[in-house]
């Protein structure tokens, strides 16, 4: 690593932090229960917008995993989600109506809160439609993972985004508030992911899955990135660079082994493809607040009228994490 690059990245990180401090002023606390956070607690950070229908299952899922405190940002919801989140005993809620795109798709707000509350804690940063799966998650709470990572001197933990979809057109599913989305959207692509290394930030850039094969086959470069580093033992100077795909300092991005071994990794099950997908696509394509002016959403809208059938005969039906580990999508690595 040249000293110059290292210096430049240091400045990039500092600028991201300064930016976050500035954007943090847009946040207004709705309920602040952060004084309940105990020194060893595992925290969850999340930004959401009009997700009332998904929030109940989201909280359920992560409470069962052992998350101690939720730090949530409501970005201008117009439904009852905000009130629902506010009334949860383990949630601290902030609200902002500022544009999502100008806050680096919410990352600035999250960086601000993480710098303020997550220092010294294990912090999980996810979206409302992302569900964290790690080795032994059915028998060991997330605290066990955190303790094991601590004992192994590891600071960050990778989990690839795995798009889940139903069998048949997406619009034909019915997702009701509180439902487990993976009752219907329980299929995934088992082995069509491709990756390359980002030379500067050292992270892997992973693409593929149903979105690459159905929407982006003819423009693969635009296919959404699936690499994520959602679970981090947070220190104040840290910052996510682009969504939770990569971080600075860049040593945190080395969640993979280059000598042939397998590091321990997890999966974020992505419950994007439910009957809520079509409306969301039209709305986001118009709103253009997402990455690159919502380019991804425009592609969905153009293709198949936002009602795709992603299922094919080689799709796998989700069973549990062990299945994902056997398929080679995640790994137990050294954890036994």
């Amino acid at each position: 690593m040249s000293i110059l690059t290292s210096y430049r990245l240091r400045w990039q990180r500092k600028l991201l932090r300064i930016r976050a401090l500035r954007k943090g002023r847009e946040l207004v606390a709705v309920t602040d229960r952060t004084k309940d956070i105990a020194p060893n607690d595992v925290l969850l950070f999340c930004t959401f917008r009009n997700e009332d229908i998904r929030l109940p299952f989201f909280f359920d899922y992560y409470r069962k995993l052992g998350i101690n405190h939720f730090l949530m940002i409501d970005n201008g919801s117009e439904d009852a989600g905000s009130d629902f989140a506010r009334d949860q005993p383990d949630v601290s809620l902030w609200r902002t109506d500022a544009p999502y795109g100008e806050a680096r798709y919410g990352v600035d707000w999250l960086t601000y809160l993480q710098g303020k509350y997550a220092h010294g804690h294990w912090a999980l940063t996810v979206d409302v439609d992302e569900f964290f799966v790690y080795p032994f998650c059915d028998t060991r709470p997330i605290r066990a993972l955190a303790d094991w990572l601590d004992a192994s001197d590891l600071r960050s933990f990778g989990a690839m985004l795995l798009d889940m979809y139903p069998k048949g057109p997406v619009s034909q599913t019915t997702y009701r508030r509180g439902d487990d989305p993976f009752q219907t959207a329980n299929w995934f692509d088992p082995g069509n992911y491709f990756m390359s290394q980002n030379k500067l930030l050292k992270n892997l850039w992973i693409q593929g899955g149903p979105r690459a094969r159905s929407f982006f086959a003819s423009k693969p470069k635009q296919a959404p990135a699936l690499n994520k580093i959602p679970f981090v033992k947070w220190r104040r100077p840290y910052a996510y660079v682009s969504s939770t795909h990569m971080m600075l300092p860049r040593g945190l991005n080395l969640v993979y082994d280059q000598q042939g071994g397998e590091k321990t990794s997890g999966i974020l099950l992505h419950a994007k493809f439910l009957n809520t997908f079509g409306d969301r696509v039209l709305e986001e394509a118009k709103r253009a607040e997402h990455y690159k002016g919502g380019r991804e959403y425009r592609t969905y809208a153009e293709r198949q009228g936002a009602d795709p059938d992603l299922w094919c005969q080689w799709s796998e039906q989700y069973i549990n994490w062990r299945q994902l580990e056997v398929l080679g999508l995640m790994s137990k690595g050294n954890w036994a």
């Binding site: 032994f136 028998t139 060991r140 709470p141 605290r143 066990a144 303790d147 094991w148 004992a151 192994s152 001197d153 990778g158 989990a159 690839m160 692509d189 088992p190 082995g191 069509n192 992911y193 491709f194 990756m195 390359s196 290394q197 892997l204 992973i206 899955g209 149903p210 690459a212 094969r213 982006f216 086959a217 003819s218 423009k219 693969p220 470069k221 690499n227 969640v255 993979y256 082994d257 280059q258 000598q259 042939g260 071994g261 397998e262 590091k263 321990t264 990794s265 094919c312 005969q313 080689w314 799709s315 080679g328 999508l329 995640m330 790994s331 137990k332 690595g333 050294n334 954890w335 036994a336």
Partner: protein, 567 residues
């Protein structure tokens, strides 16, 4: 006869208290050493919590940093106190606050009573151990280590290198033969007493103070001087990962631990309440005398180390991305690449499938789309046939295809009309066997019915591309199994070549060729090639096909020779 316990504690005092009560409840005196880094408040609370137990003592405190002398000093201190205060103690067991007795302590006691002269301490000479971290085994005893390995790794490494470079060596005290092993031991009173009262103890202590990770070598070495009978194994089940960090046991290990029949296990996760509630298990009179057997546990953790260090061959994923120059293959299983054969035999793909039972793909790297074995749009693992998506990362397209179908042997057709970016990957892959019949691209041109003057440019282009591929295959970096022949060579003895290919792909399951594939009618080919030459394009890759050697349309089937293979 009695068993005494030395317990080293530095954190999780509630669990440590629980453990002390287990030992004390079974009638074992316990001497506790608490790390001097622990704040006075926590220490006092801990002492207070154990005040009701008469046979529990606390010894003077030392700073116990990982890999330092403090750990040895602590056990010396505690050991001296234990031997002084409890004269009836015959065996001394070194444990930590995270060591959980699995079997009833009475069973451990009767096990030790039956072996009154045996010291249980893992102790191996430096030449025979493989678990050392950082490659330092012998050098632990001959170099100096003034810098902490955990906090100042760079200085530590630099200083080791410097000493190696100048050839510095410490003198090992006379009579001492360095041994190493697990730091958790169980010694007889005699041996421990002899070690602690050794007239040379001052010398030994001064020496070991500067040895790296002395708690893994101090008792292990000195026990060799004093013990009457050493059993070189630890009674404590402790597994270590590839970096020398202890593995942690969780609730879902309960069955594994039960079956191990080990007396004590560590490290136990602080919140593993199932384990803490289950163990020590109540005694089972039938299995009281059973020997510990950690085979299954060993296998599980050996697998973890294997996975972490070697991983699954041919898998590229979010946490395994081997760099190109560190691997000999990108594929999880052997595969074959066939160039030119499908030009000669129009029905080659289905014929080969029938002969070998392998998965025979068409041109996977064709310009229009990937032609999978079943010509489907999406193949195993949900791989798309889209050419752009494939070419976006052609290498990973191949590794994915083989990984997803690694239970079968894969073959695919390749040729100069295909996307060529993959050629270096193929040539360097030790799992690939590549068969090329060069110049076979001339056959489709010949069969197209177009005149030589019309196809002249196209022929030249294909020849150029194929020639480039052959140069790659002939480069010294090529590691695949490669067989190149010209079209002329091939048509002289096609059956022999086909039989070799089949044997190679299918191994012993390969069938003798009963029915030869139908060859295209090549009767006019020599003239056609001559006409190309007349047009000024020289098809040198086909070899010399003259009118005289024009091949028969239907090759003769040879019987498979009966050969005892040397493979």
């Amino acid at each position: 006869m009695s068993l005494g316990v030395i317990m080293l504690v530095h954190t999780a005092f509630d669990r440590a208290e629980q453990m002390v009560r287990h030992w004390a409840g079974a009638g074992c005196p316990v001497v506790i050493h608490v790390d001097s880094n622990v704040p006075a408040v926590a220490f006092d609370r801990f002492v207070g919590a154990l005040a009701d137990l008469p046979d529990v003592r606390f010894c003077a405190r030392h700073r116990c940093e990982w890999g330092t002398w403090g750990l040895v000093a602590a056990s010396q201190q505690a050991g001296t106190l234990l031997l002084e205060e409890f004269p009836e103690v015959q065996h001394v067991f070194l444990a930590s606050g995270a060591c959980l007795p699995l079997r009833p302590i009475s069973e451990l006691r009767s096990y030790l009573d039956a072996r009154p002269d045996t010291d249980f301490i893992e102790s191996a000479t430096t030449a025979d151990v493989h678990w050392t971290i950082g490659g330092l085994d012998r050098e632990r005893f001959t170099l100096r280590f003034p810098f902490a390995w955990k906090k100042r790794r760079k200085l530590f490494d630099a200083f080791v290198k410097l000493q190696q470079a100048v050839g510095y060596k410490r003198r090992i005290p006379e009579g001492v033969v360095p041994h190493m092993g697990s730091q958790w031991w169980c010694l007889t009173r005699q041996t421990l007493d002899a070690i602690l009262r050794d007239p040379n103890r001052e010398t030994y202590d001064t020496y070991f103070r500067k040895v790296w990770i002395p708690d893994e070598s101090y008792y292990q070495t000195l026990a060799r001087l004093h013990s009457r009978k050493i059993e070189s194994r630890s009674l404590t089940l402790a597994k270590f990962d590839f970096k020398g960090k202890p593995h942690i046991f969780f609730d879902d290990h309960v069955e594994l631990l039960q079956r191990s029949k080990c007396f004590v296990a560590r490290k136990i996760w602080r919140d593993a309440s199932v384990l803490f509630n289950t163990f020590p298990a109540s005694g089972d009179p039938l299995h009281q005398a059973q020997e510990p057997n950690s085979g299954t546990v060993d296998r599980v953790f050996a697998q973890a180390v294997h996975r972490r260090t070697l991983g699954r061959q041919g898998l590229f994923m979010q946490s395994r991305f081997p760099s190109i120059d560190r691997q000999t293959s990108i594929a999880a299983a052997p595969y074959a690449v066939l160039q030119g054969l499908d030009d000669i035999f129009p029905d080659f793909q289905s014929w080969l499938t029938q002969q070998t039972g392998a998965v025979v793909h068409g041109h996977l790297y064709a310009k229009d789309r990937a032609h999978f074995a079943d010509e489907s749009e999406v193949y195993r693992g949900c791989i798309s046939d889209n050419a752009r998506l494939r070419d976006y990362n052609g290498k990973m397209f191949l590794s994915n295809l083989i990984w997803n179908g690694r239970d079968r042997q894969h073959c695919f057709q390749f040729g100069p009309t295909d996307t060529q970016n993959i050629r270096w990957t193929l040539a360097k892959d030790t799992q690939a066997s590549i068969w090329v019949v060069s110049g076979a691209w001339s056959i489709p041109l010949f069969c197209s019915g177009r005149s030589a003057s019309e196809v002249r440019a196209e022929a030249a282009r294909l020849q150029r591309i194929e020639d480039k591929f052959l140069k790659v295959l002939r480069s010294p970096d090529a590691r695949a199994r490669i067989k190149i022949m010209t079209l002329a060579q091939f048509v002289e003895a096609p059956m022999a070549v086909l039989q070799t290919i089949i044997d190679e792909i299918a191994g012993h399951r390969g069938l003798a060729i009963k029915e030869a594939p139908e060859m295209r009618d090549l009767a006019g080919l020599p003239d056609y090639l001559q006409e190309l030459k007349n047009q000024g394009m020289h098809p040198f890759l086909t070899g010399d096909i003259t009118a005289g050697t024009a091949p028969a349309t239907k090759p003769v089937v040879l019987r498979k020779p009966y050969v005892i293979s040397g493979k």
